[in-house]
């Protein structure tokens, strides 16, 4: 359990760092050109879909839709992380321990709900548009974070908690300085799952008026324009893959119970 073990793994040469970042960087550059440079995008789309299409969605720019998508995901995921972690901490404390079984049961039932169902039900329940979609995305995103917070905190060795109490830490200090850091990797894994699902669900959000990259995909489907569908699909796929990559990197920096 030495805290030094993770720094051993972080020892790498400049060459490997360069190689491991080369591909992601190349992808990112190509992607930025695709989303923000309409001329480059049009040239590529003309190559892929020769013929009769209109290549550039005229109502909103792809960059704008991308920004909306990021906003949908960022706001709902941040709220979900806040609520999910708080709730997970609550049901693992003595005061909330009684609620843990029912919270776990409910979240396991709720996780079998398809995300699109939650999004669609938001319309009769709270209405159409950006804000109701945020609420739906937020509610659905809580589950993986909550589950992982509970299992992360539960997996902390009770002896370690007792030792922290023994050296005079208060309960809140034990939570903040011992338990949460030890559970951080598992919690981050929950956040990662949640964010990836969220990007996907937000794409479908276009049909409930959320805006975002789904807008151009749905519009392409309706107008039978494969170039629109492709533009939105590539952008959404890139967003999901890159968020997964970045959160994965962050997650890898936390304490790993299996190797320490």
């Amino acid at each position: 359990m030495s805290p030094g073990s993770s720094s051993v793994r972080r020892e790498f040469s400049a060459a490997t760092a360069f190689r491991s970042l080369l591909l992601p960087t190349a992808f990112a550059v190509a992607f930025v050109a695709f989303v923000w440079n309409e001329a480059a995008r049009e040239a590529l789309l003309q190559l892929l879909f020769p013929g009769r299409f209109s290549y550039i969605y005229e109502r909103v720019s792809l960059a704008q839709l991308f920004a909306e998508h990021v906003a949908l995901v960022a706001i709902s995921s941040a709220l979900a992380a806040l609520v999910g972690i708080t709730l997970g901490v609550f049901v693992t404390r003595p005061i909330g321990r009684d609620f843990q079984p029912i919270v776990q049961d409910m979240s396991s039932v709720a996780q079998t709900f398809p995300p699109v169902a939650v999004l669609a039900l938001a319309v009769p329940a709270i209405g159409f548009g950006f804000a109701p979609s945020i609420v739906a995305l937020f509610v659905y995103s809580i589950l993986p974070i909550l589950n992982n917070t509970i299992s992360g905190l539960d997996s902390v060795d009770p002896a370690v908690v007792e030792a922290s109490r023994g050296v005079g830490m208060k309960r809140y200090q034990t939570l903040l300085l011992t338990e949460l850091p030890l559970a951080a990797r598992v919690i981050a894994a929950g956040v990662r799952t949640s964010v990836v699902i969220n990007v996907g669900t937000a794409t479908v959000g276009a049909v409930v008026g959320a805006g975002g990259l789904g807008t151009i995909i749905v519009s392409g489907l309706v107008r039978d324009n494969a170039a629109y569908v492709f533009s939105g699909a590539i952008a959404a796929a890139f967003l999901a893959l890159s968020l997964d990559f970045v959160i994965g990197r962050v997650q890898a920096r936390f304490y790993d119970a299996r190797t320490s």
Binding site: I102, A240, L241
Partner: protein, 395 residues
Amino acid sequence: MSSSDNGRGAPEKTTLFAAVLGAAALFRPLYAFKENRVALGDPVTLFAAGVPWGAAFIAALLVAAALLAFGAQRPPIRWAKIVTGLALVIALVATLGVAGRLAVHGEEFGRVTPSSGFWLVLLAGFIIVQGSLRGADAPEALKILVGLVPFVVVVGLLLTGRLDSLAPVQEYYNRESRFASELGAHVRLAGAAVSGATVLGVPLGVFAYRRRKAERPVFALINGIQTIPSLALFGLMIAPLAFLSREFPVLRSLGIRGIGNAPALIALTLYALLPIVRNAYTSLAVIRGSVVDAGKGMGMSRGQMLRYIEIPIAVPIILSGIRVSTVQAVGNTAVAALIGAGGLGAFVFQGLGQGAPDLVVMGVIPIVLLSVFVDRGLAIVIRVLTPKGLKEAPL
């Protein structure tokens, strides 16, 4: 289990919480009355619904649940709570049916939509039943049967026409024949995708395990596929398939086009791969452990090892992967309706497009029930097939 598992007078918090939640929800609207399909609706609370005995009974059940929460956690009290919760759910649905019928009486296009009060009391009932059932000392099979009671009663009420005034039920009647065909399409599409993913995924998992070099690229690829949003993956399938269909008339005559079943099936199959490949891989890792040495030590032949050790261990692990894949596929198939693949998602998107929330609810409920039943059903199958020595926590 519970820390209040004693007679010291500390209330059982879960049931108490549910009873308070339910009581608060009684003051929210039970349903909204609509003159026609797209009307906004007037909210009506339980007490104003014209069913005094139903309201009184529901209120009494919530009081009973609250009082039972203060009782000791002994089996009779536990079962009393379970029965109270079941009665609450059934009384609520029945009251809504009766109240709805009173409300629409004489209105040709009138209908009622369940509102927040209904859903919250239903949630309270679920918490009371589930919370007490979980720790109850009863066979797993009995618990499952008890959990099914509300479903059976609701289906009975539906079939005997007692819930006909509910708007989602009316949406169903307007599309009765299409409902069956879309449900069939949904099940076929999800089923075909999971079957395809099983046929491809199990050998792929075995391959990834055997060839150490292939492990990373295989998992990187299928992890990447899972990461891509479903709508985006469906979209990405369209262009190449449209191209192939244009260039090769043979494919077109097989019904392969840019939209419809072909792209949906391919994308859904790709999605379903990850859990199956991962679990096939894991099952081999488990088998290659010490159990095999134990078998060899006992003098088992290759055939005996396969029959008594490898298959019994591998099958439940692979089935767990199939379970996760199937639940996902049921949800993703709903999205596939957007590329013209049909299925229950068609109702949902149609409802969203028409601004008819009740049609959305009518489409969503069977999708959710399908997911939940597939999930629970496969969980039971897996439990039955898991060798005794490997059994873990209850369902």
